[in-house]
Symmetry: C2
Subunit: 338 residues, 2 copies
DNA sequence: TGGGTTTGATAAACCGGTATAGCTCCTGCA
DNA sequence: TGCAGGAGCTATACCGGTTTATCAAACCCA
């Protein structure tokens, strides 16, 4: 018989459906002898609970969702999401909870998805990425009463649970490293200013500049694309007093920047040092290989999953978990200034 | 009231649950007046069907699954999957069917997932990628009676539905292009020989060689990693009669190969032409930008979703749909041999 | 030996939809 | 006037689990 139900098992064992349910869920109400008999039969018939039936009875569907709101075009070059996803899954697999992934164009569409998921009871909770400065999603999720955890930001006034790394410290470690090499003109090619992490990184550079005696430390914002990364680099390198080091907020932009430098005959790391805020195979494929900040993205995802499950279990609590600090991996793209 | 049920609507409208169900699903059994009244009330209460309840009643859960069996480490650099995913979603969104994504380490784990999904009724069907020569998954899915569609291969003896592009023609177009430029020593850095598409590409090169008068046209297999791509390139370029052109089965390997060439002082495209079998931002970020074969991966995914939905609707049919042919995008990495 | 508690089980309700049998009332036609 | 037939709706069973109320038998202690 394909796909047996507990009624089938009850029949075979000569007991009621209720008894089977008790036995399979390890709760009192049946004798040890009966329990074992039922378990053995269930095993033989290779029974597994029907997810929808369970979801209907209990309140939960054993599924969580994650929406990525970026144009598909800009997605995928960075291994960031692939690693994050794997981590999330490893955190969920222990409880055999499934993950729904959706890639949408913008935040508006993302919020629509949350509404639909909530009203159709498709997920027990969601994981948020790319938190913006005034993030509409936070209030929306609160209103929907949908458990959520924010990755890489502090959930806005303690409203949502979060898993975060210290972007400020990370950026400081990069700038301090460059300053220690002797660099005094350091530029920062940042991402979109609407992202909270972008803001934090910009502030870190600005605050550290006077202390480290930097002559100039501009942060220039972009849309995270390779095109704007390249354009911004070109602008920086065309200045009279051009920087001797550039920090890029993503590996893709750093690679684009390296390309521009080579084109313009600016040698790396001789005339220009380059650091990427995110690490990946990309940075290692380059010649020279790029010095980059390595974050344990997999662990990031795993912890987010764990926190989400805790929040689902008890929605009243607000957890803010800090993850391991990122470390700077020095490669061939950084050296003392000429 | 949060999350109203059809019983609530029936109450408000003063009709039975059945009438509400008829009205909401647009089937006969209620008068137009009543129907409109019910629809208006449902709209007011912002009712949406409870996915689990619906799944339990009808046979389907309105959800399909996709498992990617690759080590997370090697994943994500290629935009391939991100684009594929977006395409799949766009094909599913019309019917508001959700997608479950899982990244696992190997095929064994993948098959386990299918078993679980089937027994727990978590998905209505699945999408397969990376078909291998003797693929265990095909028989397994047949046994589980789980509707499936294969991307990029012909589902093994017509067993499963499929969506495929002509890898053979694509490879021929590359080799013919290089031959037309005057190249006679062309090497092929292939992927894993267990993949069907790898085999087809290798055969295409071998078959075309005599016709095009190629002196030498070896296909060397790798594990698709940048490391083996680089190592193989080094070997090729160290030979006495080294090739004047190399075709790589992936963009990542092509980039790695370009790095090796530069390191060894082999100028591209002066001394060596490079072509990547897959296109992405990666190939465009390079200097020189790489000539690459562009496939409409998004459309690939969209069509796979469509075919899967058809197969779910009628599991007896076997659809084999051929997608648009890939086109060669010529950039700066190819030129006539010196 | 009798009354109260515990143990092990059952039957039935319930979750939120869909499908179906059946009922009432109206209409048309002989 | 009677009756067939259809429109419009209700009541109810059902999907596959969980949970609760109920109940019989065994057990305990005085």
């Amino acid at each position: 018989m394909a796909r047996p139900t507990i009624a089938d098992i009850a029949n075979r064992a000569g007991v009621s459906k209720g008894a089977v349910s008790f036995a399979l869920n390890g709760r009192p109400g049946v004798s040890d002898a009966t329990r074992e008999r039922i378990l053995k039969i269930a095993e033989q018939m290779s029974w597994r609970p029907h997810s929808a039936a369970r979801a209907l009875g209990e309140g939960r569907v054993d599924s969580v969702g994650m929406v990525i709101a970026r144009p598909a075009r800009t997605l995928g070059v960075e291994p960031f999401f692939a690693h994050l996803l794997s981590g999330v899954q490893s955190g969920l697999s222990a409880e055999s909870i499934s993950l729904q992934l959706l890639i949408v164009e913008d935040t508006k569409a993302e919020i629509e998805v949350y509404r639909r998921w909530a009203s159709e009871h498709r997920v027990d909770g969601v994981i948020l990425v790319d938190l913006t400065v005034k993030d509409l999603r936070v209030d929306e999720l609160k209103a929907l009463e949908l458990p959520a955890v924010v990755i890489g930001g502090r959930g806005g006034k303690g409203a949502l649970a979060s898993v975060w790394a210290d972007d400020r410290d990370a950026m400081l470690s990069i700038v301090e490293y460059l300053a220690a090499l002797g660099h005094r003109r350091i530029a920062h090619v940042a991402g979109t200013p609407v992202f909270q992490h972008t803001q934090r990184r910009i502030r870190a550079v600005r605050d550290a500049a006077p202390r480290l005696g930097l002559i100039d430390a501009p942060s220039l914002t972009t849309d995270f694309s390779d095109a704007e990364g390249a354009a911004t680099t070109r602008k920086l390198l065309s200045q009279a007093n051009r920087p001797t080091a550039i920090v890029y907020d993503s590996d893709v932009m750093a690679v684009a920047g390296l390309g521009v430098a080579m084109e313009m005959g600016v040698s790396v790391p001789g005339d220009l040092s380059i650091v990427a805020f995110d690490d990946s195979i990309l940075t290692q494929l380059m010649h020279p290989a790029l010095t980059a900040l390595s974050r344990d993205t997999f662990d990031f995802g795993r912890q987010a999953a764990e926190v989400l499950l805790e929040v689902i279990a008890d929605p009243t609590q607000v957890i803010n978990r800090r993850t391991a600090d990122p470390v700077l991996t020095v490669r061939e793209s950084t050296a003392p200034p000429a």
